[in-house]
């Protein structure tokens, strides 16, 4: 069971309180009714599913009930950081030891 840092509760809480809700930073087009089939396909169906750094949405569904974003390494299962919904994407970098950290954060 993972521990996940909830940016609203400001502490690590057990995974059982959370639900993963898919890839992050995919914005619903403002003029969704007017977009092309290709744009809709890209928005709704296409997902990156990368090995390594992944941006994903979680919901602290059995806690504060907030949605938030997380950066996680799918190889080690390790969370790099979590941040509130609506905040900009946090850039990360991989160190020589293979561990991901937030770009520019003090080591």
């Amino acid at each position: 069971m993972l521990l996940i840092h909830c940016p609203y509760c400001q502490e690590e809480r057990p995974e059982l309180e959370f639900r993963n809700t898919g890839e992050a930073h995919i914005e619903r087009p403002k003029d969704i009714a007017g977009i092309s089939d290709e744009e809709f396909e890209k928005f709704f169906f296409i997902r990156a599913n990368p090995k390594g750094v992944t941006y994903e949405r979680w919901r602290h569904i059995h806690g504060c009930a907030r949605f938030f974003n997380a950066v996680r390494d799918t190889v080690s299962d390790r969370f790099v950081t979590t941040y509130k919904a609506g905040e900009p994407r946090v850039e990360v970098e991989r160190g020589d030891d293979g561990v991901l950290t937030v770009k520019g954060a003090a080591q």
């Binding site: 069971m1 969704i32 809709f40 709704f44 569904i61 009930a65 907030r66 919904a85």
Partner: protein, 998 residues
């Protein structure tokens, strides 16, 4: 004296405390503190079972959890028995019943032993290669026979009467292992102020001090020091010491599973105690102090009862006061076996010879052996053994060849050196690293917040290891945030026992001979020859060798065998051992009972059962219940002599003729509140909510972004800024989640909040011509006349003196109400309504009748008539899709080319030509019944019932371009006949809807 092999004055047990237990049909005596293994050995019994594949006689190999052979059936009675219990771990209690396994008809004479003679046929990969043809024979002949002959114990057939508990525990420092270094680390961490959990799988801490009696710590014997430290730890408020507790799984972020055996050693356990406790520990820091496991020597016939690990023999002697034989041979590549020999000799046991494969063992050891009068055969090997049910002699010769000599023995102890127990480290996802100098795998970089100390880390010197462990424990405490404490310095320690010397793979006695049985993995009967064969057959990866031979795949997880198997494979491949690699260690470290894993979650607690406030009344009135998710819902109410069909027919008729009462509490409800509530619902539903006046309600459809129907329900507007939304029973949680998702992440600018009120309201549907007559007299403050309160309206007032949200709505096609009252009043209001309903000739009806009545009206059920690929147009619900709204969820998805193309399956009514036939739901529909199979299927039946009100069967289904086929005949082919159906619209009763306004 309990057992002839008990040596007076040896061991730590109290001889006066005797116990009796049953082994097969014999009653034997043991001493309090004995394991089953030590008690059997005290009674001169080595033979405990037959091996897995060849049914070879086997006895104890070890004195601990690594035991591959001595697996027995242990229990208190016929119900409380467990197969495959390691005799070396199980403590004896008075009245314990034990049985040997995998033998028939008896342990000494076993028919399956023929497999041993036929063993050339049972080499590695035999099953894969032999039983390939004919395919059908596998299921009927090969598999049952193989399964019956192989396998170990027999599972109990009765439900487990014991109970198990679960504890989530959090600590600063978890120390796994209560040997010298684990204790040292735990005490240092505890003194530094950390919250500490220390676990050890044995009844007592002390680890290697169980056998290593020549060690001193702080001027006292290692054992005494360990017990003193343990007592000190137990007395500290910030420490929990768990003995008989195995750390079996190391998961992400220092989540470690421990299982504590609470009553398995007690003759008469308090029934309130759980049999086992599962501790789910979350530790900030973990100190791994899991020690090392001794390896056996791989040589011909190394598996006879009486042949065992040297450290085990030393444990039986020094801890349990039991000698494993009267004439004990020694075969070793490691110094520590010499110490065992010396201890045995000094206890009066004859040691015919110490055979050491090393040409020049430590001169000090040789001198000591001479002093004790033990013959030393250096540079020699045990080439073979004899003895049927117990070892009788060992054949000794030079490793370089030449003459041999048979030495009579009744036990043979051996050591090929020690394997650091890196299981926990490896489970933590750490990668082991080959240490060239000491020729072993050791923990590498720590991936989690953990550290390995002591023998599992390759720390051989006792004094240094204890000091290093204390430092590690202190640092772990500091790293976990402890500040308050003090430093604790480990005392000086030293030992006479040396752990030097090691060999991996087959010894001289294993030979290249293909008929020799030199066992590598005892539990799975894997020999050195099998591993060579695997390599010859092309298995070059150790993972393939493992699976081809099953080496290390038994319940002991290859604790004694993995390194030997790897070394033999490496030799065959002519590669350095580390290049061949090590297989992955997985949890559980030792087998864990299902009881411990599921703990509380069984019986009533397996899954929550949700009941409505009216459940008790329904039960008392004979309702039969159906499961709808976790809910129990009244299905139908049979009266005396009625079957389901008759009950449902009566209920259906009564509702349309008089009225009926239905418990609709389980419907999901969400209160949507805020100035932007209508705007939010505009986005969530296909419908438009702007013009819905307070006091009115409307049926809404919710889509997913892909344009398919997700849920539906009636929404009432309570005020300008407040809506009462209902969802399907099953959809309640996911609709709430779906709406919160959009609100929080896509439309956060909207001023609106969502609150689940599913369980706030008990909902009583009263439907039928007399519905108003039933409800109205109990209601205050609401004008319920048709004019004042028409169909699809909602009012707030009182019923039976308590608040109600009274909906005029219908899922039956009759005039009706849904009475919402705060849930705790549900039963009382239901009873008051029932009093009136019953007097007027109405009935209570269940979900089956509800389904029939709604189908008569063509009302869909999301999830039954839709399946996640149905659009509003497919379902004939285009009228509910607002045409002018700029946006709602699904607005773009439902315009995708495939969703607007012709040829989609559309929901239609289906009337069988023979009105008496009720179609099967899910049955396929074809246009031409005379096609050859496979036919072109153009749709399927989604809902189908006998309708007593229509006097015939009714059905709905989805059919390709179905609405264009009105009046056409289609066919439903069934195994025994083909049924003709006519395509109709979906409304079977009251097509004009006049009854709604009655």
């Amino acid at each position: 004296m309990s057992g002839a092999n008990r040596i007076k004055g040896k061991g730590r047990l109290t001889p006066a405390k005797t116990l009796r237990f049953k082994f097969d049909n014999k009653i034997l005596t043991a001493v309090q503190g004995d394991t089953l293994a030590s008690a059997l050995l005290a009674n001169g019994i080595h033979l405990t079972g037959r091996s897995f594949k060849y049914h070879r006689p086997r006895g104890m190999l070890s004195a601990g959890p690594e035991e591959p052979n001595a697996l027995m059936d242990v229990g208190r009675d016929a119900v409380r028995r467990t197969p495959n219990i390691r005799a070396t771990v199980q403590e004896v209690y008075d009245g314990m019943q034990t049985r040997s396994q995998n033998r028939w008809p008896s342990l000494a004479f076993d028919v399956g032993g023929l497999n041993n003679l036929a063993s050339p046929f049972f080499a590695a990969g035999f099953y894969y290669k032999t039983f390939m043809w004919p395919k059908a024979a596998w299921k009927k002949i090969y598999e049952p026979v193989i399964r019956a002959a192989a396998g170990l114990g027999v599972s109990p057939t009765e439900p487990d009467p014991d109970h198990y508990s679960n504890h989530f525990a959090h600590c600063d420092v978890l120390v796994i292992g209560g040997g010298a270094t684990g204790l040292s680390a735990a005490l240092a961490a505890a003194h530094a102020g950390a919250e500490v959990i220390l676990c050890d799988e044995q009844p007592e801490t002390g680890g290697a001090f169980h056998h290593e009696t020549d060690a001193t710590v702080g001027g006292q014997s290692g054992w005494d020091w360990a017990q003193k430290v343990t007592a000190e730890l137990r007395a500290m408020d910030n420490v929990r010491v768990l003995t008989r507790t195995t750390a079996f799984g190391y998961q992400a972020q220092n989540h470690v599973g421990l299982v504590e055996r609470v009553t398995e050693h007690l003759a008469n356990p308090d029934p309130s105690l759980p049999r086992e406790r599962l501790w789910q520990v979350r530790a900030r820091q973990v100190v791994i102090a899991t020690g090392a496991i001794e390896r056996h020597m791989v040589f011909a016939n190394n598996d006879r009862p009486g042949i065992m690990l040297a450290s085990a023999a030393r444990t039986y002697l020094n801890h349990f006061g039991v000698t494993v034989g009267a004439k004990v041979g020694v075969y070793t590549a490691c110094d520590s076996a010499w110490s065992a020999a010396f201890d045995l000799k000094q206890a009066g046991v004859s040691i015919p010879a110490i055979v050491d494969v090393r040409p020049d063992p430590d001169p000090a050891l040789v001198a000591r052996a001479k002093e004790l009068g033990i013959e030393v055969l250096a540079g020699q090997a045990v080439l073979d053994t004899s003895g049927k049910l117990r070892v009788k002699s060992m054949k000794v010769g030079r490793t370089s060849g030449g003459s041999t000599r048979d030495i009579p023995v009744d036990a043979l102890i051996m050591s090929a050196g020690w394997t650091p127990s890196v299981h926990m480290y490896s489970q933590s996802r750490g990668k082991v690293v080959w240490d060239e100098e000491s020729q072993r795998f050791l923990p590498g970089r720590n991936v989690q917040d953990c550290v390995s100390v002591g023998a599992c880390n390759g720390d051989d010197d006792l004094g240094d290891a204890i000091a290093a462990a204390a430092k590690a424990g202190h640092e772990a405490a500091i790293a976990s945030g402890s500040q308050a404490g003090e430093a604790w310095t480990a005392p000086d320690a030293e030992t006479q026992t040396s752990w030097a010397g090691s060999m991996m793979g087959s010894a001289a006695g294993a030979g290249a001979d293909t008929t020799v049985k030199a066992f590598v993995d005892f539990q799975n009967d894997v020999t050195a020859k099998d591993i060579r064969l695997a390599v010859r057959e092309g298995m070059h990866s150790i993972e393939h060798v493992k699976r081809f031979t099953t080496n290390g795949m038994a319940t002991d997880q290859g604790k004694t065998s993995n390194i030997h198997g790897l070394a033999i494979a490496a030799e065959m491949l002519d590669k350095p051992l580390p290049q061949v690699g090590l297989t992955t260690f997985r949890s559980p470290y030792t087998p864990v009972t299902f009881g411990a894993i599921v703990n509380h979650s069984r019986g009533d607690l397996f899954d929550p059962t949700r009941r409505t406030p009216m459940h008790g009344w329904e039960e008392a009135h004979g309702a039969v219940f159906e499961d709808v998710g976790q809910w129990k819902r009244a299905w139908y109410y049979p009266r005396a002599g009625e079957d389901m069909h008759q009950a449902v027919n009566r209920e259906c008729r009564t509702v349309r003729d008089v009225a009926g009462m239905f418990d609709a509490t389980t419907l999901g409800k969400i209160e949507v509140v805020g100035p932007d509530a209508a705007q939010f619902l505009n986005l969530m539903y296909t419908n438009s909510w702007d013009k819905l006046e307070p006091g009115r309600c409307k049926y809404g459809i919710m889509l997913r972004e892909d344009g398919f129907i997700y849920d539906d329900g009636v929404v009432g507007r309570m005020a300008e800024d407040r809506f009462h939304v209902t969802t399907t029973t099953g959809g309640a949680p996911r609709v709430m989640h779906h709406m919160e998702d959009y609100l929080q992440t896509e439309f956060p600018h909207l001023k609106v909040w969502l609150t689940s009120t599913t369980e706030q309201w008990a909902v009583i549907a009263v439907q039928g011509p007399k519905a108003r007559e039933i409800v109205a007299p109990l209601v205050e403050d609401i004008d319920m006349s048709n004019e004042a309160m028409p169909h699809m309206s909602v009012r707030v007032g009182k019923i039976c003196g308590v608040p109600t949200r009274l909906f005029r709505m219908s899922f039956t096609g009759e005039a009706g109400y849904e009475v919402n009252v705060p849930a705790d009043y549900g039963e009382a209001v239901w009873k008051a309504l029932w009093q009136r309903a019953e007097a007027l000739g109405a009935c209570a009806y269940g979900t089956e009748t509800m389904h029939v009545l709604r189908a008569e009206k063509g009302y869909i059920i999301v999830g039954q008539d839709t399946d996640g690929t149905v659009t509003p147009d497919d379902a004939g619900l285009n009228w509910a899709v607002a045409k002018k709204k700029p946006d709602f969820v699904g607005i773009r998805g439902m315009k995708r080319p495939d969703l607007v193309a012709s040829g989609r399956k559309q929901l239609v009514g289906l009337a069988t030509k023979d009105p008496g036939i009720v179609l099967e739901e899910g049955a396929q529909i074809v246009a031409d019944p005379n096609q050859t199979v496979p036919m072109t299927m153009i749709g399927h039946v989604t809902s189908s019932y006998w309708s007593e009100n229509c006097g015939r069967s009714i059905a709905m289904g989805v059919v390709v371009d179905g609405r264009a086929l009105m009046g056409k005949t289609l066919y439903v082919p069934m195994p025994d006949k083909t049924i003709e159906v006519e395509v109709t619209d979906t409304v079977f009763i009251d097509k004009e809807g006049v009854r709604l306004n009655g």
